[in-house]
């Protein structure tokens, strides 16, 4: 089985789907000839031509607005927004239009896109190349939101997203684009949307995490293990719809939970996860649920490693929660 990094796996997934279904088109800034600033779409322009791999004018609103029009026509557009930080000019189209199309038209006009965009920090990107805006899309009824942590899931979730009837925000953690490597099957397979993965089983504390922070959680859990704390790690993979059953099952076993995400703490997705745990497993809790997250500041440049919820910040939360 070939070894791939995230970039290669997503590229492979796009190529596979474009071969399988001629309705699939890729559009965005620099996605064509140069293959994207992260090279995720490399080679697709040469293989499929400029009608299916389209370099667009520099306008996120225009990319998503026209992609919605293409979707209404019956194509399956997979637009790329170069950085999630730049998605906000298209936010109106995503929130007011894409997310509501099926609903507001009484089912007459389902509009389906897979919007790919790199997220997250740790690449010296400052305010505008580092953010994690997932909760701003989860809060909007009508969008599915995924964020893979490894090449296998990236390709499998991409295929599932392209075939899903609903619009999908496909967040790609850019810090691990090339760092995360693994076996990726050639050809057909999918990772189902809405299913989390229990990456490691454990007895004492449940860690809920996704994207690049998975590796920080694993590192922290390794340290915790050395201190006698046995962690169960859940990689959400799909953020919305949330795999609540897997989380609750784990929390019922451990009674303790730490949620980790890069986005700011307040109204971050961790808030919703903790609220759901309180609603569904309150009497099983042995300790207050804890969030280890980015801070409620703009994403900083020089101090980004202090901002991110890396292993050194996750570890004390695990130990304290275990001994609460």
């Amino acid at each position: 089985m070939p070894q791939m990094n995230m970039v290669q796996a997503i590229n492979d997934g796009l190529r596979f789907e474009m071969k399988r279904d001629e309705r699939v088109v890729v559009l965005g800034e620099d996605v064509g000839k140069v293959g994207g600033v992260f090279r995720v779409t490399q080679g697709l322009f040469d293989e499929f031509g400029d009608d299916r791999v389209i370099d667009t004018p520099l306008s996120e609103g225009g990319i998503i607005g026209t992609a919605i029009g293409m979707a209404l026509y019956g194509l399956v557009p997979v637009p790329e927004i170069q950085f999630a930080d730049f998605i906000f000019p298209a936010y109106d189209q995503i929130v007011s239009e894409l997310a509501k199309f099926r609903y507001r038209s009484g089912g007459e006009y389902p509009a389906k896109l897979v919007i790919r965009t790199p997220v997250g920090g740790g690449i010296r990107g400052g305010h505008y190349h580092s953010q994690s805006p997932e909760s701003q899309f989860i809060h909007v009824a009508g969008l599915k939101v995924v964020c893979p942590s490894n090449p296998y899931d990236a390709k499998g979730l991409l295929l599932a997203s392209i075939r899903d009837p609903d619009p999908v925000m496909f967040f790609e953690p850019k810090r691990i684009y090339r760092a995360a490597k693994g076996d990726v099957p050639e050809g057909e397979y999918t990772v189902p949307i809405g299913k989390a993965a229990v990456v490691r089983e454990g007895q004492h504390v449940t860690i809920v995490v996704w994207g690049a922070m998975l590796y920080e959680a694993i590192a922290a859990a390794d340290e915790a293990k050395a201190q006698g704390v046995d962690c169960e790690i859940i990689d959400l993979r799909t953020l919305w719809p949330l795999d609540i059953d897997t989380i609750i099952e784990s929390v019922k076993k451990t009674g303790r939970v730490v949620v980790v995400h890069e986005a700011p703490k307040t109204c971050g997705f961790g808030s919703e996860i903790v609220a759901l745990i309180n609603e569904k497993a309150f009497l099983n809790l042995e300790a207050p649920p804890v969030r280890v997250t980015g801070f409620d500041t703009p994403f900083p440049y020089t101090l980004e490693m202090e901002y991110l919820p890396l292993a050194h910040r996750i570890l004390p939360a695990l130990i304290e929660t275990a001994h609460y």
Binding site: S59, G65, Y73, R104, G107, E108, P241
Partner: protein
């Protein structure tokens, strides 16, 4: 392109003048005496003209009735097309059966012309269980795929880029269709207008941008939307031809739209049409235009009423008179009354329907919330 100054609170040079030739840059066919300028006559067949006239009357009476229903508290809202009927229906009548309409929210006349049933429209006005939008949106926010008519939303200009993308996809697939995208002149200030025009220009999509310049965006006059000498001239910046027409002249609107569609269909790319018309009513039933505009301006435009002008043409040809008008109004009135009576009796949407169509299949959280609603107490007053 030489372009005349925009009209504003002062009557515009071209449209205020009794002589149709006073502004050579505004396409006009229908003269004040009801005759047609042979230089621009689109040669519409007489039966179609008559059918359009009858439809204009329907739309006018419907507007009137819906405002009354709103005042009576029987419907929540109406956003009408009083004074803009020729621009809306003239353009919708000029597209081919294969073409698609991407509406703003003032084009119910176009939807009905394209085949949406009066009953379906009325069901939307009442938000009942047979409303095409299933009671999920305000009145006048309907949908009609069968009529190749898009889904209406309130945010300004969002349909513009979508109409471009749709046409672009058709072009990629080598399907012979164009899109007609409606918006008011206020929408030309939105990013969506810029995005749509720019993408359409770059990719030469078969799109007709139809700008209803009705003078006002709620309370804001045209000179607060742009410092350009017209809205059509904005096409120059995008490499898109622009044309202005008398929007209260059915024949001019028809001709410009038909030509633009033919241009698009022949691979010539997009056109922007500025239809110069006037919003005789408030922005919607929630608006009182007396607070921001002079009655004299409205009076001026009432004299340019598009329906009265078309009627004059039909009368000149000996094809219309008071008796026919009375008979038509009685017939239309009865149709509207029936549709209202039926819509008012149809049940509101089911509680469960609130949770459908958010996603193709409701995930666990929506099932849970639906069950909570069903088990819980009911609200009063709906």
């Amino acid at each position: 392109m030489a372009v005349q100054p925009l009209h504003s609170s002062a009557p515009p040079v071209g449209l205020a003048s009794p002589a149709h030739t006073s502004d050579p840059d505004v396409v006009r066919v229908l003269r004040d005496d009801g005759s047609l300028d042979p230089a621009f006559d689109p040669h519409l067949d007489p039966e179609t003209v008559l059918a359009i006239y009858k439809h204009l009357v329907l739309v006018r009476l419907l507007d009137d009735r819906l405002v009354t229903l709103q005042r009576q508290g029987r419907i929540g809202f109406h956003i009408g097309s009083l004074g803009e009927e020729a621009a809306i229906i003239g353009s919708a009548a000029a597209v081919r059966a294969s073409d698609w309409l991407f509406p703003c929210y003032r084009e119910f006349g176009a939807a009905l012309w394209r085949g949406m049933s009066l009953q379906a429209y009325m069901n939307n006005m009442f938000g009942n269980s047979e409303d095409p939008a299933k009671g999920r949106q305000m009145p006048d926010h309907y949908t009609c795929r069968a009529a190749k008519f898009g889904s209406i939303s309130s945010p300004i200009g969002t349909q513009i880029t979508q109409g471009v993308g749709f046409a672009w996809a058709a072009k990629m697939r080598k399907d012979d269709l164009a899109t007609l995208v409606y918006f008011g002149e206020g929408a030309t200030s939105s990013a969506e207008f810029h995005n749509g025009m720019n993408f359409a220009g770059v990719f030469k999509t078969p799109t007709v941008f139809f700008c209803r310049n009705n003078g006002w965006a709620i309370s804001v006059p045209v000179e607060r939307q742009t410092a350009s000498s017209s809205f059509a001239i904005k096409g120059v910046a995008y490499g898109i031809p622009g044309i202005r027409c008398d929007g209260n002249d059915l024949f001019a609107v028809y001709k410009c739209t038909r030509d633009a569609i033919a241009h698009a269909a022949a691979g010539g790319g997009p056109t922007i049409i500025e239809a110069m018309t006037y919003r005789l009513s408030g922005h919607s039933t929630s608006d009182d235009p007396k607070a921001y505009r002079k009655e004299g301006e409205v009076e001026h435009w009432k004299k340019r009423d598009p329906i009265a002008r078309l009627r004059k043409h039909l009368e000149l040809e000996g094809r219309w008179d008071d008796a026919r008008q009375q008979a038509l109004e009685a017939e239309v009135d009865a149709k509207i009354k029936d549709a209202v009576a039926v819509a008012e009796k149809i049940q509101p949407p089911s509680l469960e329907s609130m949770f459908e169509d958010v996603f193709a299949e409701p995930p666990w959280h929506l099932q849970e919330q639906r069950d909570q609603l069903l088990k819980g107490p009911r609200a009063k007053g709906h």
